[in-house]
């Protein structure tokens, strides 16, 4: 009977059969999720989850959100969620200790700085290398700075607020962030700051995926549902709603 219930909302392999338990950050940031409230369904990531849940046969109220710190999400041992969504990039090393779904989104990177900074009017990577950089720990932004731009001594902060504080204190000139985050920060949180340029994607960064406990058997089922959702154009729709960029921004490629 258990086998028969697999791949239904009553799947015994779920944290709580009948519920889809989804981990996320604490707090959650726009535009990934708006208003620090995943359950409201406003935002790119929670929008995606509700579409996915529907695809898997869950009712909207059967989606249960659990807030976790980054450390809790990556800790060994049993997790308190079926999977977690938190702009987590899929990499080889990480895949040794957790299991990822397929990639659902590959963000562009953007250079953000205050007006009058050293990166304003930069035309090439060489121009960018002359500036002082900062990034947030646990993101692929730092890897991007080091591997693509070749910046050695980037400062690393706990969160975006640290990065922008350092910018205002004139301790760094600019940062690289995922474009959606850049859009939100420059629009709402630090209106002074602006997107200076867009950067090409990192081939080694495969993009965001859902994070499962290592060798969680649910992956197949979720992957299938995710493919269906992507095929339906849901992701593109969400991108258009929450993650649009100014088409006139300059792009620096080398």
């Amino acid at each position: 009977p258990a086998k028969a219930q697999e791949r239904t909302p009553q799947d015994p392999r779920l944290m709580t059969p009948g519920k889809l338990t989804v981990g996320t950050g604490d707090p959650v940031y726009p535009p990934w999720m708006l208003d620090n409230d995943p359950a409201a369904g406003k935002g790119f990531e929670n929008g995606l989850i509700y579409a996915l849940a529907e695809e898997m046969g869950f009712a909207r109220e059967d989606v249960v959100w659990v807030a976790n710190t980054f450390e809790q999400t990556i800790a060994p041992g049993p997790k308190n969620f079926d999977f977690s969504i938190q702009q987590i990039s899929v990499t080889e090393a990480r895949a040794q200790v957790v299991t990822f779904s397929q990639v659902y989104f590959q963000p562009d990177k953007a250079v953000v700085a205050l007006p009058g900074s050293a990166v304003e009017g930069a035309k090439s990577f060489d121009d960018l290398r002359a500036a002082r950089w900062g990034a947030v720990i646990g993101t692929t932004d730092l890897t991007y700075l080091e591997n693509i731009l070749g910046i050695e001594e980037a400062a690393v902060y706990d969160d975006q607020i640290g990065v922008f504080q350092a910018m205002q204190a004139k301790q760094i000139d600019a940062t690289v962030v995922a474009l959606p985050t850049a859009l939100y920060v420059t629009a709402v949180q630090v209106p002074d700051a602006q997107i200076v340029a867009l950067l090409p994607p990192d081939e080694n960064d495969r993009g965001h995926g859902l994070l499962f406990q290592f060798e969680n058997p649910l992956v197949e089922w979720v992957d299938e549902a995710l493919s269906a959702v992507i095929a339906r154009g849901v992701v593109d729709e969400l991108k258009a709603t929450y993650l649009v960029a100014d088409p006139d921004l300059p792009i620096i490629t080398e």
Binding site: D26, Y29, N68, Q72, A75, P76, G77
Partner: protein, 293 residues
Amino acid sequence: MSLPAGPGGSPADGAAVRRPAPPRRRNEWRAALVPTVISLASVVIVFGVLGWWISSAEQWPRVKLQFFNPEAMAAAFPRVLQGFWISMRIWLTALVCIALWALVLALVRSLRAPWFTPFRLMVVVYIDIFRGIPVLLLVLLFGFGIPALNMPGLPNSGLFWGTVAMVLSYSAYVAEIYRSGIDAVHEGQRAAAKSLGLSEWQTMIHAILPQAIRNVLPALMNIVVALQKDVALLSVIGVRDAVREAQIYTATTFNYSSLVVAAGLFLLATIPMARLADHVSRKDRERRLQRAG
């Protein structure tokens, strides 16, 4: 004139003639008045100039907005207070456990019988290691590692194991403080207790420890105050203490005022305690000076 004056000569204070002693000179206060005024004035001036200088900086309003914003403080207060209760509960629990476990460590390190030699050594190693390893790592190792092992019979709560890690780490520090207090108690006290027939254990409890702890009260207060804030380390394993709540607010609003609120709450809790410890030390010292009959 090397001849000594006789008892009758020179201004000797005869026992028969008894003048009343002049009253105690009361102008000590007045003597201290001028310097007090001057130094208070200098303090006011120094701080005034500093304050004026800072607040006249062009960027001051922005910094003020981000660190000392009354509205943000008010908004953050309820959540931070809620976290503060959690901080306090963990803090008090950990304090009790640390006090006891550190005592065990210190006692083992202070016992003299040959039976204890290897245990003494173990305690030295324990202290070196647990003091040397960053608490953060211990919290991660215990808070995630042990529950992950999924051992039957062991509790599974990250909070529990995180607190255990804090206790193990802080105990190493406190044990060293206890030990310095115990070492400072005079050897004669041990001899006296032993000669009364007290066992080594009773000697410790009744004779040595009460004196040892008084010896190191300020250092212990340091630990008590530091621990209160280090409870925040448990936030990596998901505990929402005061600092964590403040940081969540900070991260969402890009405003540090919530941390100032948390700091205010900590001060409210620690300052009375610091004053109490001072008071105890002072009374102790005074008793030592004042002698009856």
